[in-house]
């Protein structure tokens, strides 16, 4: 089996033995938990679409190791075209799920490691790349979903890892054994963690020699002994528990984030991809971050959903022909397509690394992500403008079922006689979901902080710009030699 179906994926998750906590209790059945399940559905979509002929070109690739057809999420980019298709895959899945489908982070971790392992070996004569390729083949052949884990809790932000009062604030090695290492620490904000078969750990920032115990990268099965997952909660999360078919907005899909704790977990050597080569930590961080900033192509797809919802709401409200409504729809599209330009351009301007892996243009990937920290907020604001105030004053779907109130809702919330009032309520709940509810945590806040907060991108832009060239040009034109 090289490519799982959505059903096989779900079954494979049932075989995992994850330690997951939510609302202070252990979750016994992760897959069927009503709060978690929509996020599983979203990952499952990455499996389902790979089997659809119309999406085959985007969703699948040919493994450069085995020559097998594989899900693109397990692929190492072999060309500019691969990079561009990755961006298109993100938009496609964002549009089909209306949320975060979680699987890109592992793809980005694999690609970044494929470069850095090679480069470490070239300098140090180590064998990381061989290990990595073997691990990669295992992931590809099993079509695994991989969590790529970078963000440490970080404790006191003014101190480097080795100066922290609590050394566990950054993931580090606590014991070195013959057959592997023991690690301790935690990774925060882990998207899709409990829907993953594997987890790849990377350092969270550029390390210096004093921090070399923290300059480590490795992979683990998600249910390795000593790993605990504590689910984060999202705005409106418990609407999924209400048993209805409207108020959660997006009836099918969602996302999740978790705190992942590593309490002295053993990692065998063949899953260790960086071990104290601190001077490569910055490269790994920057390249993973660049790939992952490209991955915010997905928000273009979520933007598609929100624009489609706003247009539909305008039609249901009977105001879609008003010039200001039309103009706002154009503006939403303009902003959304500007984001699309960013994720296409950073791919199209990519380059080949020594290992053969293609990497995005790092400057443009940062520029793209930086726009993602802005435009979805404005698109969301415009969607709320178009939706109208009813979006936040709408009674519950239970009021639509109760005979005493249903008559009033059906009577007074009808705006267009050809449209059932329920449809108007459905679409407004979707806009609520995307701009205030569970999906807003992804479309807005995760757009802000995922793959690095805005300031991280500004620092990278500052580093990657060739200012000398610009100054040379300016001085020449005005006569300063």
């Amino acid at each position: 089996m090289t490519m799982m179906t959505a059903e096989q994926y779900e079954e494979s998750l049932r075989r995992l033995n994850l330690v997951v906590y939510m609302f202070g209790k252990r979750v016994e059945n992760v897959v069927d938990d009503p709060i978690i399940r929509p996020s599983m559905n979203a990952v499952a979509k990455t499996y389902e679409l790979a089997h659809r002929p119309e999406h085959e070109d985007i969703m699948t690739a040919t493994s450069h190791i085995t020559g097998n057809k594989i899900n693109r999420f397990t692929h190492i980019h072999q060309s500019i075209e691969d990079l561009v298709k990755k961006s298109k895959m993100g938009r496609l899945l964002g549009r089909e799920t209306g949320c975060c489908f979680q699987r890109c982070v592992g793809m980005d971790a694999l690609n970044a490691l494929s470069i850095v392992c090679f480069d470490i070996d070239a300098k140090h004569g180590t064998e990381y790349y061989k290990r990595f390729v073997k691990y990669l083949e295992y992931v590809q052949e099993n079509d695994f979903t991989v969590d790529g884990a970078m963000t440490d809790p970080k404790g006191d932000r003014s101190l480097p890892p080795h100066k922290q009062p609590d050394p566990d604030q950054f993931m580090h090695v606590v014991e070195e054994k013959k057959d592997g290492i023991v690690v301790r620490g935690a990774k925060a904000h882990q998207t899709g963690a409990v829907n993953s078969h594997e987890i790849i750990i990377m350092p969270t920032l550029s390390m210096r020699e004093e921090d070399k115990d923290y300059a480590i990268s490795f992979a683990l099965p998600s249910d390795a002994e000593g790993i605990t997952y504590i689910m984060g909660r999202q705005s409106c999360d418990t609407r999924k528990l209400e048993g209805g078919a409207m108020d959660q907005g997006n009836l099918l899909f969602g996302g999740h984030e978790a705190l992942v704790v590593f309490d002295d977990v053993f990692v065998p050597w063949d899953r260790v991809f960086m071990f104290k080569e601190y001077e490569f930590s910055r490269q790994l961080v920057e390249q993973f971050a660049a790939y992952h900033r490209q991955s915010y192509a997905c928000k273009v797809g979520v933007g598609d959903v929100l624009i489609g919802a706003a247009q539909t709401a305008a039609e249901y409200n009977g105001v879609e022909k008003a010039s200001h409504i039309r103009d706002k729809i154009v503006e939403m599209n303009h902003l959304n397509e500007t984001l699309y330009c960013g994720c296409i351009a950073c791919a199209s301007e990519g380059h080949k690394e020594a290992s053969g892996t293609y990497c995005v243009n790092i400057l443009l990937a940062n520029v793209h992500k930086h726009n993602v920290t802005r435009f979805p907020y404005e698109i969301s604001r415009l969607a709320q403008d178009i939706a109208g105030g009813l979006m936040v004053t709408l009674p519950s779907e239970k009021d639509l079922q109760s005979p005493e109130t249903a008559k009033w809702l059906k009577k007074y919330f009808e705006a267009n006689h050809d449209i059932p009032t329920e449809h108007r309520m459905h679409i407004l709940r979707l806009i609520e979901n995307l701009t205030l509810g569970t999906a807003a945590t992804n479309y807005l806040t995760e757009s802000m902080h995922g793959a690095g907060s805005p300031q991280a991108q500004r620092i990278m832009i500052s580093r990657r710009i060739n200012m000398q060239e610009k100054q040379r040009a300016a001085k020449k034109l005005c006569g300063i030699e």
Copy 2:
């Protein structure tokens, strides 16, 4: 009793016999319902602060009818100073409650009627103003909270009231009796409806002669027979049912909106303030809207809370000295104070109407509100930037109480050793509340649509600008005579 205490206010609500539905069921005890109660608390704050010496100047006024000291929310503005104090009262209460305190809408309705009743009488020789003043005295002496209800469901937006397939889409008179009238219709998005003793109905738009049955204004006790309230739901509303002390963000206050249905309700003549004088409907709409757009002074106060929360989060995160954080805090304040300028300027540039009531500058009130449809979204975006991603990945407070997870949360979410981790969680939940949760529906979406959607303000700006004067000046300077 001219001014109730908060406790008296709560007791007075218990005496009402409101018909309220929520989640498909009748709410038996409105005052103590955990979802509604925080909104009652917010209104109660308007009573409490009126008794505090340090706020007396802002919160109270002297009735121009009785000479008694009254709560400013029942006052008719007698000077520019009164108008300015109204804006300051809004900011004060916004800051103290962090939400919508609901009581301004009745004050705005009373003030608008105090002008329009007088003007109708002047033209038609009617006695509305006398009726109104008597009613006003009743409200002032009882220190009532009044709901001012303007927004009709509106049905097909392309048709005027009298052409609607369902004539009830706009509130109208269905029977004219000797002792009063019978009305039918509904008012949507009614802020604070179930916390009110009285409700004042106004037409929702400018009416023409054909629509004169819809050109009506009147007041009713909130529990008059035939009135039904259907509560709207808000993002994260059910967190208030969880019984905790953290995850709802704002532990004390909230807001609510309801659909209010009038199913053949009788109104005695002495509570009718406009009856088919359709040519005054536009004035009533515009002046009420102008007053109410001024009332968005409250969002400056809510902005204060969000800025204070963001600054606190930055300190708890240990990053408050980073130059980009400081700059974002300045930007938030700059935008918030720009809003403050708007609500002060429209008051300061107010004028006296024929009835003696002072009215805000209508152009500037619209300009102010129009900025309120924009800046809170940007302030909110910046708050999310400063807060960090943890705001949307934070586990529940129950995880902080469970021994299996509490140890990890306390260990890994500590960023500043001097600050209990719980405090960091509290402040992030408040930011979540204001930017995604129950308060976001007010700070963002209601800022967009309350007192009229953005396009309504643009139309008013267009109408109130003296373009000829500007064109005259331009032509003169460039030599076009």
Copy 3:
């Protein structure tokens, strides 16, 4: 004579013996120089309008010293109403001149000194205030235009005055005599310098004890011995030399800035208002700056002209009814009136100082000015959008006079048969003037840097915000005690 006419003002300037250089040459006749004269015309407007009954209320005041009716530009604000009228006077003159009328800076200097002299005396028992009042009476009785000069060249920005390699980079005292002092230094960017009778010097930043020789304030006749003026040039300045009646855009008015050099100039003691009381330099800077930031009320008036021009251009282009054009006009007005709110609010929220002078609210004055560094640029961008590309591709007015080309211009630039093509050209030249030409240097760049650059306002906003109050409110709401 307490109030000069425009003609008397012009004559009074002819009596001055200023040393002015422009284009490397001494300007013999300053008043009639074609580049300078439009700026003189703009100042003259401040005299002319003071005699017009319809503007009397705004343009004049009653001296609190003599009780005489005086031009408001020489008045010390005695009430909130005075402060508000000052903002309205700025808008009025901005609208009537379409440029910088230069006279506010002296008014702001006089008002700031009226506070600080009083406060220094209160601390040190000095007699500055008496001196100042005598000087003020002299200015009021003669209706002088006064240049208020604050900005020093500043040399190396990283060093305080006393550490500068060249001590003259900040104005300082070089000799102390029995009858006065000798000063040396320069003041840059002096608006309206050569149209002024007097010049008041103030320190440019907060000084410490080591810099006390730089903590000086004094007044001089503008033609005192040792003062040299070097005129700055503006975009399109030489169009005024072309002798036409169209291409300069604004045919009547303009502004100017000059570098003013003080080469060992003697100042008698009765014109010295601060002498080494360095601890008051910060107050003087902040209060002058606040008054002067309020003065950017003028840009609202210039905005009126630009909006009027854009509307006229749209009509001449035949596109004024297009929905996007109307919407852009609304946006321009919205931004312009938002600026108006700022200058009104900082006045309306003013307060009385110990000397009896009313001072604006310093926080809001900074907020106002900060918006002035942004909105005129967007208004200008929208004006260019509405104007169309012809604004920058229009042939010269000489082409309209030449028979070989005039026929083509008249034929092909006609867009509306009822409007002479010349009119279309006139209005486009005015928009060019305001967005690229001589007036753009004032409407845009001076809006950015005049009365302090944006960062100066951000620092003041940061200082004047009560963050503790906001944090207290936030913590209380989320349960942090």
Copy 4:
């Protein structure tokens, strides 16, 4: 000769016999006219760089007709790579000239015609494509600069061509002869017109059958009998006449626009590429516009110059390390690179047309250009912020040469002892040039209106978005079937 040198280009222009008017007079020597020459220099740069080995890949291509190496400006795009290189060529030349280099418009006309001629033939069995290819070869072999002329004067904007009171407001055929046609009309805003050897005329908008006489496209030598050029003037144009070496800002390059009048000009049939096939006019307009909107890649290069100038000014002012300055530089770069993403993405997402020509993605080309109507204004605003007010108060360079004033300028405008004061003045003049002067007309106003005004792009965005797909996705997610 397939590729001219810059010198050959200049000589070739001397052989033209153009009828050019400026300031009401015939320009006898166009090439050496001091106002026009900088624009010729900019075009010459497109010849010069084509001979530089380091730019060969970008600046040259292989003709698909002859197989010869040609200047890319005469090339028909044969691949995605060609499209991407076109964008890079634009940025390169923008950076090297700091202005509009004018030659892209002809390239865009040639490429659009290469598609449309082919498509007309396919439908009508005509021979336009053969004619066109022959003409193309002539252009390639002679390495001509071609003006692509689309914009008609348009007269009354509410009327189609055939209803205009003056039929010449749109270019039309006035006589049909055996050997060709006679045309009359004008084209406005023609960039680089008098630096061109050839001019290609295209219709300005989508035509209907009644307008078929206006649905014409053809090419003419720029000095064909009956063509008259009337030069437009630019902000600060006459600084080029002052004979200095500083105040014009950009000492080397500039741009120009002209009104081009066609007074019954004869066009032989072999130069006619569309003749009354009105149903193809919309395609020609949209494809030419799309190519030309891509061409605004050049503004990224001009942005590079302005960013380089701002950074240099900051260094010369001694403030480059201030955090707010660094942040503004990042923002300028971020906006500029966002523009770059647009011109790369629309190329990278291009496609092959029936004729074999590659065309850009039309939606994304419009999105790109639409951002160009916004971001340069903000980049310009930030540049003025960083430059400081001295940019608009700087005395003339003659003041730097006069002994009486030079001493003061050198003394008081020194901010950094290691930098000659002249250098500081030079760089500020360049920023003035780009934000207010001759280059601002291109960097700002032409960015707004060139290749279509903002509203034109919004209409195209509206047309090219697949809204149904977005609505389908939204409805599915919220349960509307």
